[in-house]
């Protein structure tokens, strides 16, 4: 990956290069599959990450997932298993210890460097190829093999199935916790369930885009979607579409190039966000939806 940068190609050709594209495509079939699965999971999970204000938690969980995956690499066990164990441990710790936002952020702040440190230690001791080491931090989608696609499919089924099951009460508890609790929604249990699903999603993402860039698929697409719509149907649909475009587009663009895959994914996802922000700003100025009473005067009119 990085070694290839030393060639004497012009820099732009290292970033975008479509020669031999047809021959390369079959080689990344697994990667495309993994990317598509991750984008589906990331888009859906991201909706709740936004609603529950968990962006920092995603980052914290991904560092521990990185530690788990690195340790797995060192001890020659399956990287997916390591990533999942690290993720779930972090997710449970955050879920149990940090029900209030302030507690949560300090716990994440404490866990994150610890996880990163453990990961760096494991990688330093690991005798294998350097590309694997960087892969866990910055992404290594080209290295996805069939067995890993199988593991990722299993995780994706659990996460998407779990989310669908708790979708309504989780939305209620996320955006309206007080009334949800009054209506008997088990908010605490749902919060833990979501942390576990989030942990699984992160474990998936770490293996594809790397620990440092997990947010580009777990937050940016959903954040972009909430800029242009407030519909409970369109937010998840658009988030998934944006995530798919970023992930698959990134993989296809990176195919002929000699730099890692992540910059493509993060850039596409960021550009989508910027466009949505622009659209959202225009809509906001116009009052989002047309109504007789302008929003600034707050006219709750008695009739």
């Amino acid at each position: 990956m990085f070694q290839a940068l030393a060639t004497d190609m012009p820099w732009w050709q290292r970033i975008v290069d479509f020669t031999d594209y047809g021959q390369l495509l079959p080689l990344v079939r697994n990667s495309l599959l993994a990317g598509a699965l991750l984008a589906l999971v990331g888009g859906l999970v991201g909706v709740f990450v936004m609603q529950r204000d968990l962006a920092f938690a995603v980052h914290g969980v991904s560092e521990l997932s990185f530690a788990g995956a690195s340790a797995a690499l060192l001890f020659s066990i399956d990287v997916t298993i390591g990533a999942v164990i690290g993720s779930l441990a972090a997710a449970l710790a955050i879920g149990f210890l940090g029900s209030r936002a302030r507690d949560r952020n300090s716990i994440i702040g404490v866990l994150m460097p610890f996880g990163l440190g453990l990961g760096v230690l494991a990688l330093a001791l690991y005798p294998g190829r350097a590309a694997n080491k960087f892969g866990l931090l910055t992404g290594q989608i080209v290295a996805v093999d069939s067995s890993r696609v199988g593991a990722m499919t299993a995780i994706a089924v659990v996460v998407v199935g779990g989310l669908l099951l708790v979708w309504r009460p989780l939305t209620f508890a996320s955006v309206d916790p007080e009334v949800a609790a009054a209506r008997g929604v088990p908010t605490r249990m749902l919060s833990l369930v979501f942390m576990l699903l989030l942990g699984l999603a992160v474990a998936m993402a770490v293996q594809v885009v790397g620990a440092l860039l997990v947010l580009s698929l777990l937050i940016t697409p959903a954040a972009a979607a909430t800029r242009v719509t407030a519909s409970p149907l369109w937010v998840p649909v658009l988030a998934v579409v944006f995530a798919e475009v970023s992930a698959l587009g990134g993989i296809l663009l990176a195919l002929g190039a000699s730099v890692p895959i992540s910059p493509y994914i993060t850039t596409i996802s960021f550009v989508i966000y910027l466009v949505c922000r622009g659209i959202g700003r225009r809509r906001r100025r116009q009052g989002w939806v047309r109504r007789a009473v302008p929003s600034v005067s707050g006219g709750a009119v008695v009739r």
Binding site: V47, A182, G184, S231, S295, S297, G299, V302
Partner: protein
Amino acid sequence: MSPVLELAGASLAFGERTVWSDVDLTVDAGEFVTVLGPNGSGKTSLLRAVLGQVSLTAGRIAVLGKPPHRGSRDVGYVPQQRIVDPATPVRARDLVRFGVDGDRWGPGHHDRRARVDELLAAVGASEYADVPVGMLSGGEQQRVRIAQALASDPAVLLCDEPLLSLDIRRQQEVTALIDATRHATGTAVLFVTHEVNPVLPYTDRVLYLAPAGHAVGAPDVVLTSQRLSALYGTAVEVVRAQGRILIVGDDGHVHHVEEEDE
């Protein structure tokens, strides 16, 4: 027929601290009961007891003759207004929809649009049904909240400081709406508030929770200098002017009714 809400010898304590004790209160359908008292007097705890979130230390509480349980559709809950991030992807109609079936599992495939529209229309919020909640004014938000609470056709509507952080005009609008609602639907209202005056015209009875005891009765009977002085165990004066009430105490515990700024 059993009353909508019944408390008999009801007491609540957290550890050593008794919040209130021996409260007897029977609320009938369509009745408007205002719960007053200083901070820490257990007003919110009372609502939580009705919601089945806390258990009484002694005595009995019943909603429609049965002990309250979490998630009961017989109890509606209107919280105080709070700031919602304008980017939160929840529209007024979605908030109301939560009230209809937000507590059920699954993604929700049944079409509830007609029911939601009906509820929004009943509180005069149809106009901003598709506006994100974070972009509504405080008064508009509270209208939507009332529609949400009415979604389960509750027998009693618990209002937990719904007027807080609203200006006087909106306070009057929201209380008028709640009053109209109880006449239209026959739901009883248990209204916890610091602001006496907006609810005074509609209040059938007052439950006053205070450090040295509590009192139940018509506003004119309970809200007197003599009664409140006894409840607080210190001199309290109730001043009536222009149809409004001002409660003045000689220490910081007594709540003060805010001055009208118009």
